[in-house]
Subunit: 629 residues, 2 copies
């Protein structure tokens, strides 16, 4: 029997075990002060000499002996002779030996060449920067264990330091494993996967202050993995093995690490991210992390980051806290910490959060996340409407300057979003996930509806419709199946695998109607995909025979497109959004020449009415069936 049970160690305990077992003693190296930003000092830095090194003028003016001005007043000004009594001096110039004060040039009247009139007495050392005023020799400029900032560089150079002793960066080896892995840039064959966690890990390690060494893909072979680990502990400070940390038939991490060193644990009480192996090999910490991107990211954050922080003697970062209300209930799993990626919208003065896809393999949920929610293991979850504290990944002001698209899906919306962000820096346009229940969010400053006129999803009285585009819809299939899709009634034959559009979308409504008219059953268990492109991907991968979609979606997959008609797609701006700056900005993008060009570059769109305001809610509405040819 294969091992199927992992440990269930809480993350904090796992981290403590790791930090207690690992010996992390940073080396010291010298770097040039001018290139030292971001490094951490190993020792305090003291000034070698004083700055200024000599008494110097603090103002443009004339240098004098103060005592000469003792009796000067506006009633009885005194006259000073250049050379004998004063010298012109610029800011920063050393004070001549027999002078002890500077009179600002604005307070000096030049009677004639070489003769200056002074009307006020000044005390000695007025407008003089004393030697060492800024930094005196021997003074500490910055302490040990201080992250060097640009201002520190100035003070160090001023104090005569050109080299600074800093903590060497820890070297982290990254060993991607898996016989099915291919390097980025390869077209993966069936069964192959592009190895990208290694690059993400390297990028994070560098962001956190380590040097990353990606050793390249190692196949699922215990001997090869063993050798890669031994090579890595020899010249790195810690090692990350990815993946193979679970208990599958090709998961060798646990086996290899328990042979080479001491395994501290196999499995943490968290999801995603449970299958983690923590070990110490020849005194160096070795992290066996799961391969699913989301699990990989979380477990890296839990274990690699504290290793680096400990190396530098730093505390754990506190992150950006943000209080949000949950737009729906979220449940955790008792006995395991749960980590949920959230989208956050700003609505009626509060931040509202909704969970993104929970799958541990969904890289895009990391890309799209606005915030991260941690559900402690003893917490069962929260009800909709409750306020919780989350870690913000975007700033509150970025979130408040986001418009959200709800409703129909179309690949053109991506182009619109990108162009909007490009034309209006600081703003963004994003899509609520395709589920119908997102539509019930009501009007808020930032909601934008996408309507295909097949159904009245958006209230015509509550907002204004603008034409986005007209799009060709129809049937998508593999080229070889083109001729054998349809039965007699203009709908796909009953034994074919059919992908329906997202539930609640206009295309799906039309499909439903079409089947009703043909007096056929539209089988409930037929698959749906959330976006038109994902539906096309399913047909291209062979798991379905035909999908309802658009010409644009067929294109990237080389699928055959059997046209059925042309339908308009509109944006609905609720009155709440129309009134705002963001609404105006979106309209300007919609009506820009650049957007029209972006649409025309793709097959399957007509932009002849793009940007037009539709006076009546039903203008341009055409029946799905009328257009079907």
């Amino acid at each position: 029997m294969r091992k199927t049970r992992l440990d269930n160690v809480p993350i904090s305990e796992a981290r403590e075990r790791l930090l207690a077992a690992a010996s992390l003693v940073p080396d010291v190296e010298e770097v040039s002060v001018t290139r030292s930003t971001g490094w951490m000092t190993a020792e305090p830095v003291f000034a070698r000499f004083s700055m200024p090194a000599y008494p110097a003028a603090a103002m443009d003016g004339i240098a004098v002996k103060a005592v000469l001005t003792e009796r000067a007043s506006s009633e009885s000004p005194i006259l000073l002779m250049e050379g004998r009594d004063f010298d012109y001096i610029n800011t920063g110039d050393p004070l001549p030996a027999n002078r002890d004060a500077v009179i600002m040039i604005e307070h000096v009247r030049e009677r004639e060449e070489g003769l200056a009139e002074v009307r006020t007495a000044i005390p000695p050392w007025k407008h003089v920067r004393q030697a060492g005023e800024d930094v005196a020799a021997g003074e500490m400029i910055i302490p040990a264990r201080h992250r060097i900032r640009p201002v520190d560089i100035g003070a160090m150079l001023a104090g005569g330091r050109t080299q600074v002793k800093v903590l060497k960066k820890p070297r982290g080896a990254i060993i991607p494993t898996g016989s099915e892995m291919v390097t980025p840039g390869t077209l993966p064959k069936r069964g192959q996967i592009i190895e990208f966690n290694g690059a993400v890990f390297a990028s994070y390690l560098e962001e956190w202050g380590a040097e990353a060494v990606n050793r390249g893909i190692v196949p699922d072979d215990p001997e090869a993995i063993r050798q890669a680990v031994l090579d890595s502990v020899a010249d790195c400070d810690f090692v990350i093995l990815n993946a193979g940390s679970s208990a599958g038939t090709r998961d060798y991490t646990y086996q290899v690490l328990s042979e080479l060193g001491d395994v501290l644990l196999h499995g943490v009480a968290a999801r995603p991210g449970k299958p983690v192996v923590l070990a110490v090999v020849k005194g160096k910490p070795v992290l066996g992390l799961p391969g699913y991107p989301v699990s990989a990211y979380h477990s890296l954050d839990w274990f690699a980051r504290p290793l680096i922080q400990t190396w530098y003697g730093e505390r754990e970062g506190e992150g950006r806290r943000l209080t949000v209300r949950l737009s729906r209930s979220i449940s955790g799993k008792l006995g395991a910490e749960d980590f949920i990626r959230l989208g956050v919208i700003y609505k009626e003065g509060e931040f509202w959060a909704f969970p993104l896809q929970r799958g541990a393999g969904v890289t895009m949920s990391l890309v799209k996340a606005d915030a991260l929610l941690r559900i402690p293991s003893q917490e069962s979850g929260w009800e909709a409407g409750e306020r919780v504290e989350v870690e913000g990944l975007r700033s509150p002001s970025e979130i408040a300057r986001t418009l959200w698209l709800a409703g129909e899906d179309d690949p053109l919306l991506d182009r619109l979003a990108s162009l909007f962000q490009q034309q209006h820096p600081g703003w963004s346009l994003r899509r609520l996930s395709g589920n119908g229940d997102n539509r019930s969010g009501g009007d808020w400053h930032g909601l934008v509806g996408v309507a295909d006129r097949m159904r009245e999803t958006f209230d015509p009285a509550g907002g204004v419709f603008f034409r986005l585009v007209e799009r060709e819809w129809g049937w998508l299939t593999m080229p070889e199946n083109r001729g054998r899709i349809f039965g007699g009634k203009g709908i796909p034959k009953a034994d074919l695998g059919l992908i329906r559009p997202a539930a609640g979308s206009g295309l799906d409504d039309g499909l439903d109607r079409k089947y009703r008219e043909a007096e056929e059953l539209l089988e409930g268990r037929l698959r749906r995909e959330p976006t038109l492109l994902k539906a096309a991907a399913a047909v291209a991968s062979g798991t379905a025979d035909v999908a309802v979609g658009t010409r644009t979606a067929a294109h990237p997959f080389g699928l055959s497109f059997i046209p059925a008609g042309i339908l308009p797609l509109d944006l609905w701006l609720p009155n709440a959004t129309l009134k705002t700056e963001g609404g105006g900005r979106l309209l300007s993008t919609l009506r820009s020449r650049a957007f029209q060009q972006a649409a025309e570059e793709l097959p399957g769109y007509s932009t002849r009415s793009t940007g037009e305001k539709l006076e009546q809610s039903n203008e341009g509405v055409v029946s799905w069936d009328n257009q079907n040819q």
Copy 2:
């Protein structure tokens, strides 16, 4: 007559003029996705192929045809045969052609080799990741004008992108000018100044996303400056000239730029930072910035940073806002914006701020600043106790974990502070500036007194004294003056320039007493320096003949030290501080072997009682005079 009047343009208007006149059109370049963190996308990035590229197992288990399990239940389990009915499959493996679902290995009982028992019906596509589930070909991964993060790298690689088009960094030329400037690493002769603004500017430009090109020091020669500007506008996107932007006799920035191009303004309504020249030469923005470090930093922030943000189409950063109460009144200058660097302490649940040295030349005030206060030009200032909003340069939690030393000065306190920070990551120990009025701050969690037992500054009943060190005090002078300092009464001769210790310090009290006993007047106008090292620097620079100080302070300057006695220096921990975590941590550092070693490495200290708790407030108190030998 020389020009002495500059323009008085408000900063925001100056910035608008600059951005309106400058043409900033970013170029595009392609970089490798794996090295793209921090770059900004020039175009949206679309997936080239789907991820996963084929339907794949989402769990370890067995791949089956779902329909086979339709009648399975715990009462009547069904038996499946390996090969015919199922295949073992690992997470990520492609689904075999005739399977459409995966049963988790935990739910499978292996009856015998090759025979699996299933007790639950599963629907098709259970635990299957559909092709394109994560990213479908054609989907947008990230939009244009998006700063690439590590997670984006994963998604781009998964979508088949290995190169990404990004905005080239703007190239900023830095031209340090000044015949008196020498490069860092040179020992400055009298009249020479180490050029360090160039390195600070380069470091900031890089932090803000530009490429910095430091062209090296150019002398104060209009022709040389002209040539450097022409060379720079030819191959850079903007140019910074530093300094020479004021109206002194050697300030050529205005002259050169008005000959080469269009000067937009000369002088902004701000202090520090007034003497700024903004110009456009051959379409490229040229900033003439003042040389004083604080002015230089501010003017760089006002003008270079928005240039870079505009290049990337970014908004101005919002900074970290923090509300503080002012511990003393702060006045601005009507008609000019005022920028004040603040120290911030955490006291009784609020942040209290006090101004640091205001001199524009004081680099260390930038290093020490916790926050920045901007006084708008129409605001005259604020009273002590008022609440104002400031830009935080350290985080609130860093500020709350800071202990502050008030009272006597000693170079050893720098060592103590550095060691404390090193031994207690996240904590810091800093010095309130030497002014006596800082002592009146009362007890707060974080106050630590430094007492030399010459006066009862700190209330013995309100806290506990611990011995810091015993130090040698005496007279500091240039070696050649060693024999001719003293008159008959054991005090320096009346005609000598004398540096007194900071007002209100114990050493100063003792000096006062000594003069009274000698029945001599201690002239009120004799200079004071805020720290012992600055006093020593003054003697070394020749602006005074003798200073009262310690052996340690004489050392870095090669001054002669004429010993007068040994006096203890103690730390006073008020009860409020003693109770806190920080107080305990400070004591542990005080008593550490490392601190003792640090003190003994310096001349002039004895650590025989270091760390001892002094049971009585007057224990170890010795008269200043008794010790005078």
